[in-house]
């Protein structure tokens, strides 16, 4: 899909992936998350090469893809409590519900939520556990202006704390002083 792609990020860096549909933004994110295997090349973390499907690597990233991963018949709180448990935490942090104004929706089954609300549920995952690497695939799709600001604030806090954030976006999320990787030319 792409070759001769090389980049390095320092703690606190943001990287925006930009480019037309189908140019490989999502594939790069899935590759970095370990869902895809690179056919050539290598990934390094803090100087050491690692395999993308390494359990250690999985423990340092959050991946938010196109699918919101909410179970329609579970409430918002139950969905998040499951994810917290899956990530190894006994309790759900209330902050995860508060960041995207999900408190009022907490006891509602996910099947009653709008697309934007489901998106907020998916993004609330970022608050569940501290992870240094965030991989976000068009995170703002369906979000209203207020929640987009919440998201940008969350990313800013994360970067201020030394986290990395890689976002594929069509320009609806802005990351101050982020590097930009443009897939435009490689699309052909």
């Amino acid at each position: 899909m792409f070759d001769q792609l090389e980049f390095a990020l320092e703690p606190g860096d943001g990287l925006i992936l930009r480019g037309p549909n189908g140019s490989g933004k999502s594939s790069l994110l899935r590759l970095l998350a370990g869902l895809l295997r690179p056919s050539a090349g290598e990934l390094r973390w803090a100087g050491g090469a690692f395999r993308a499907d390494d359990p250690e690597h999985r423990a340092r990233l959050h991946f938010v893809g196109h699918l919101d991963a909410g179970k329609a018949n579970l409430t918002v709180r139950e969905n998040l409590a499951f994810l917290a448990g899956l990530l190894g935490f006994a309790e759900l942090r209330e902050a995860a519900l508060e960041r995207f104004d999900l408190v009022a929706l907490a006891e509602l089954p996910v099947r009653y939520l709008s697309a934007g609300q489901k998106r907020r549920l998916a993004l609330a995952r970022l608050e569940l556990a501290p992870r240094p690497l965030w991989l976000l695939d068009e995170p703002a799709v369906g979000l209203d202006a207020t929640n987009r600001l919440h998201l940008e604030g969350l990313i800013a806090d994360h970067r201020a704390a030394g986290g990395l954030c890689i976002v594929a976006t069509h320009g609806d999320v802005s990351l101050p002083d982020a590097l930009v990787l443009d897939f435009g030319g490689a699309a052909a």
Binding site: A33, G34, L35, L36, R37, D53, P55, R58, A59, L61, F63, G65, H66, L67, D68, A69, G70, K71, A72, N73, L74, E78, A81, F82, L83, A84, G85, L86, L87, G88, F89, A90
Partner: protein, 222 residues
């Protein structure tokens, strides 16, 4: 690690409970189909007792097969599977949790119902413990083998029909030893060896199915 497993188990059981009708589909099919046999072949106790063990086992196979599709398909469609693959615990462990939840809501129901169904098929009194014992050892194997098939075909259309084609041949050993264990006891020949073999198959499936399923699921997400 155990916490992740418990979280998944808890979620799956809760979902199974909320989708009550769908969950009970296999068990209801099992009971209804079996109730047809005395009507179809006649109520003669001899004939029913002769074919009883075989019929119950074949229907148990189909009942488990009916519920296999829900094992991974909905997680694949809504993205939960991505989260499971990316969770910081071995996917094999989570697969084991999924299978356990599936068995508790399918195979275990069949085990509990089986003495009643033995009565319906006029099986001798001994069957009231042999049949549940054989099903207790056999149905988890059915779930585990089925899990590999369900994972291989996750995301494909007409998955359930293909899963049946793929998985049914692999169910044959369980069927053979399950039926012969029950028949052995009923004919007074003893079926301890067959039960032991069912147990061995369960251990084999426990060791083999989680890694095979996990590998299939990873490929499905690529």
């Amino acid at each position: 690690m155990i916490r992740s497993l418990l979280a998944l188990l808890h979620r799956d059981l809760r979902l199974a409970f909320r989708h009550g009708a769908e969950t009970l589909l296999g068990a209801i099919f099992f009971a209804l189909a079996l109730a047809l046999f005395p009507l179809g072949v006649g109520a003669s106790a001899d004939i029913l007792a002769r074919i009883g063990a075989g019929v119950i086992w074949v229907l148990a196979l189909f009942a488990v097969l009916l519920t296999l599709e829900r094992l991974y398909q909905s997680d694949y469609e809504d993205g939960s599977l991505e989260l499971m693959v990316l969770a910081p615990v071995p996917l094999e462990l989570l697969v084991f949790g999924k299978c356990l939840a599936h068995w508790l809501t399918s195979g275990l129901l069949l085990v509990v119902m089986s003495p009643l169904l033995a009565l319906l098929m006029s099986l001798p009194a001994e069957a009231y413990w042999v049949l549940p014992a054989a099903l207790l050892l056999g149905t988890p194997t059915l779930t585990l083998i089925g899990s590999i098939g369900a994972a291989l075909l996750v995301g494909s259309r007409r998955g359930s029909a293909l899963t049946a084609l793929l998985v049914l041949p692999l169910y044959i050993p369980v069927l053979i030893f399950g039926v012969s264990a029950v028949d052995g006891y009923l004919l007074g020949l003893g079926g301890g060896a067959q039960l032991t073999i069912l147990g061995a198959m369960l251990l084999f499936a426990l060791a083999l199915a989680p890694p095979a399923t996990a590998a299939a699921l990873r490929v499905a997400l690529e």
